[in-house]
Symmetry: C2
Subunit: 442 residues, 2 copies
């Protein structure tokens, strides 16, 4: 599909990606500007901001999705989210295949048989699997959420809001039909579990899911899958404990909740910053230390070939492993009996540094255009670049230029790291003693 297009109009894969996204945003903007899309007229800038936020699956909003848009407008947003989420996922998997990357021992055989061919047929089959898997996840989740929300809101809105939040969650978009996101459901087990299960599944990466589905035995999973699964678990538990401790006494967040609600809220707040972007607590009321920690989580982001963004969890873990290796005076990072090749460490470092340059540029520009406290500006820039969608409230008060800066950050944050990983993947070679373990970064 896209591989055909590459040849026809002679663009590089990253150029195709960028142009496709720009086209989706352009069409989305036009649709959102139609009178039937909004309850009252909106500016072209706000329409474009919304289309960009949806297509990049960010979730930062200058308008209230639930009240400023009609059901038609909300459906447009939902479709843009699906295009943005699946589009990048498809693209990343294609790159992995085209560049001939191996996806672990067992999985390699499976994927090579069915997919690992640059033929149009193979590509179309793979996209179909992906599309059907996403649809199945979203529909099952809609069903479960309906059980919770149809009794509360009736058939019409109950079903629609379930579908909307299922799509938004699986694609790590963070758009919600409620202006306080999921704060009303801070202690609700169904909503907490379904929504987080969706965005964690969507964010862990399609190759990991595929590997899990066919392997079903941890020891035989690929190195990438092992690192993603263990890393996700460790980071989430660590984040939950830290947020629980830091916010325990804060009367505006955990302080006034029951113990059950405290635990759900800490869990939700721990898993959502790595690009999901829903919130069940008021972000502006969090402790400064929690905010600083969230900056790190938002920057790290989700997994490769997923619906999430950020520098990617593997990128972060590779660097942490490399630093630990260095501090212990060893030469090679070994994890699960595999060496991490030096070129993957270099690529990870490059992704981090170039990403930070982009965020820094955004912060600098926003510090000129906006009058808000520095922490709100820094948080907004990291949230936009990680396509997270959490906000301390700056989005509501952004200047026109500020909105454009955030739009650029969302766009760069969504296609930047994977483009970078693509460009850097070709440049490095390595020779190592341990069997080489391939990890996708960016």
């Amino acid at each position: 599909m896209n591989s055909l297009r590459f040849k026809v109009i002679n663009m590089s894969p990253p150029q195709t990606l960028a142009v496709s996204f720009l086209a989706a945003i352009f069409v989305g903007t036009l649709l959102l500007l139609l009178p039937i899309a909004t309850t009252q007229p909106i500016s072209p800038l706000d329409a474009m901001f919304t289309a960009t936020s949806a297509t990049t699956v960010t979730g930062l909003v200058v308008l209230d999705t639930g009240t400023d848009f009609t059901v038609f407008g909300q459906i447009v947003i939902m479709i843009l989210i699906k295009i943005g989420g699946l589009g990048l996922m498809t693209f990343t998997i294609m790159i992995i295949l085209v560049l001939g990357k191996k996806i672990g021992l067992k999985e390699r055989i499976l994927i090579q048989q069915s997919f690992n061919q640059t033929s149009v047929g193979g590509m179309v089959r793979l996209v179909k699997v992906l599309f059907l898997f996403a649809l199945a996840m979203e529909l099952i989740a809609t069903l479960i959420l309906s059980i919770r929300w149809v009794p509360e809101y009736g058939w019409g809105f109950g079903l629609f809001t379930s579908l909307f939040h299922a799509v938004s969650a699986f694609n790590n978009a963070g758009f919600s039909l409620w202006s306080d996101s999921l704060s009303s459901y801070v202690g609700d087990p169904t909503v907490n579990l379904v929504i987080t299960f969706l965005f964690i599944t969507g964010g862990i990466g399609f190759t990991v899911l595929y590997d899990l589905f066919y392997t079903r035995n941890f020891r035989h999973l690929s190195l990438h899958s092992k690192i993603m699964l263990v890393g996700t678990l460790v980071v989430n538990i660590f984040a939950m404990i830290l947020i629980f401790v830091l916010e325990y006494m804060n009367p505006e967040t955990l302080g006034m909740l029951t113990m059950g609600e405290k635990l759900w809220a800490a869990y939700f707040q721990a898993v959502t910053p790595r690009t999901a972007g829903f919130n069940s607590l008021d972000i502006g009321s969090l402790e400064p230390s929690t905010i600083v920690f969230l900056l790190l989580l938002m920057f790290i982001g989700a997994g490769s070939a997923s619906t999430g963004s950020g520098i990617k969890l593997t990128t972060f873990l590779v660097i942490v492993l490399a630093v630990v290796t260095y501090l212990r005076g060893k030469n090679e990072s070994v994890v699960f009996s595999r060496t991490i090749p030096p070129h993957i460490v270099t690529r990870s470092l490059a992704i981090v540094v170039i990403s930070l340059m982009a965020v820094f540029g955004g912060i600098f520009l926003l510090s000129i255009t906006e009058q808000s406290p520095f922490m709100m500006i820094v948080f907004e820039a990291f949230s936009a670049f990680g396509t997270v969608g959490l906000s301390m409230g700056l989005t509501d008060e952004l200047s026109a230029v500020g909105k454009q800066v955030i739009m650029v950050l969302m766009f760069v944050g969504r296609i930047g790291p994977v483009t970078l990983a693509f460009a850097l993947a070709k440049d490095f070679k390595s020779n190592v003693r341990y069997p080489k373990g391939d990890i996708f970064t960016g």
Copy 2:
């Protein structure tokens, strides 16, 4: 000298460096706690903070150097500054020699004849040259500053304050006997020129000065020297223009000054953040955008084998060149007809990422211990890590734990990057087409 010690007590060079610095700080703390050192009793924590700030040539102060310390105390601080400035410079040059790094074509021959030997004799000779050069710079500057300050303050204080500021400036320490640093001399050409000449010379690195002294022809300088000279010029001019523009209308900084004072102030504020740390404007009154830009300058810092700290200008420029190379679709960074080897790019990336981890850790801890605005905290952490010494005012109000965090950041910022460069220097090999250009980073 130290090379002997390495063998006797069996420590690695970085360990020797850390232990020497800790010893200097310890002795300095004891001396500053003597009743004759201060005008009124001070706490051990404040004494240790001052000793750490002086030894790491940072210049962040919890006490007023001019009024809380006696002349004896001020002399102790001055000696700690000299130990800290020359100590690290000596150490870095030693590492360059011991690791057998070449310092460019012409210079290589010169240095190899005289210094490039790990024998005790060669080392001692080199340290003598360094020591005498520093002393000469400081004494000549003292003389010139005296012409300005003796008429104003009389012989005693006039001479002493000239000496103190000369030593503090050459060693990029930023300590001043005036509580508003050099703000009284914002438009004074003598003070501006002498002080900035001292800290730029001290900060550009001994190998560059040595190269300049013996080569005297730009085309024959080493790649490292060329990059440092041109880079310093370009970054300083760019910073001066940007600060001039950003602060032009600010009534609390440039706004109320004459055009002459505006230009001097913009120049001074442009060159001081790369680890000198004196100020002629009130940092707390600068525009948010200027503060964000200063964060970058403070992080970049001075040159290798200099009295300054930070990740080093070369580290920053190597990464900028690598990014430009990548954006232009080229494979190799070429500058002054030399290729920058990939292992130097990797090393630079690693220094940046690990340094940012340290700063981030500091910001996180300070966001727990301090109640001040986020921007003040971020600024203080970058200033401490870069051993810059500029402050938006947080140093005055630091909690006890906050002081300890800043002390650790200053210490890590002073010995971290060079230690890292040392450790990483051994790990990478390369093969390139262009003649290899050696650049010292960290």
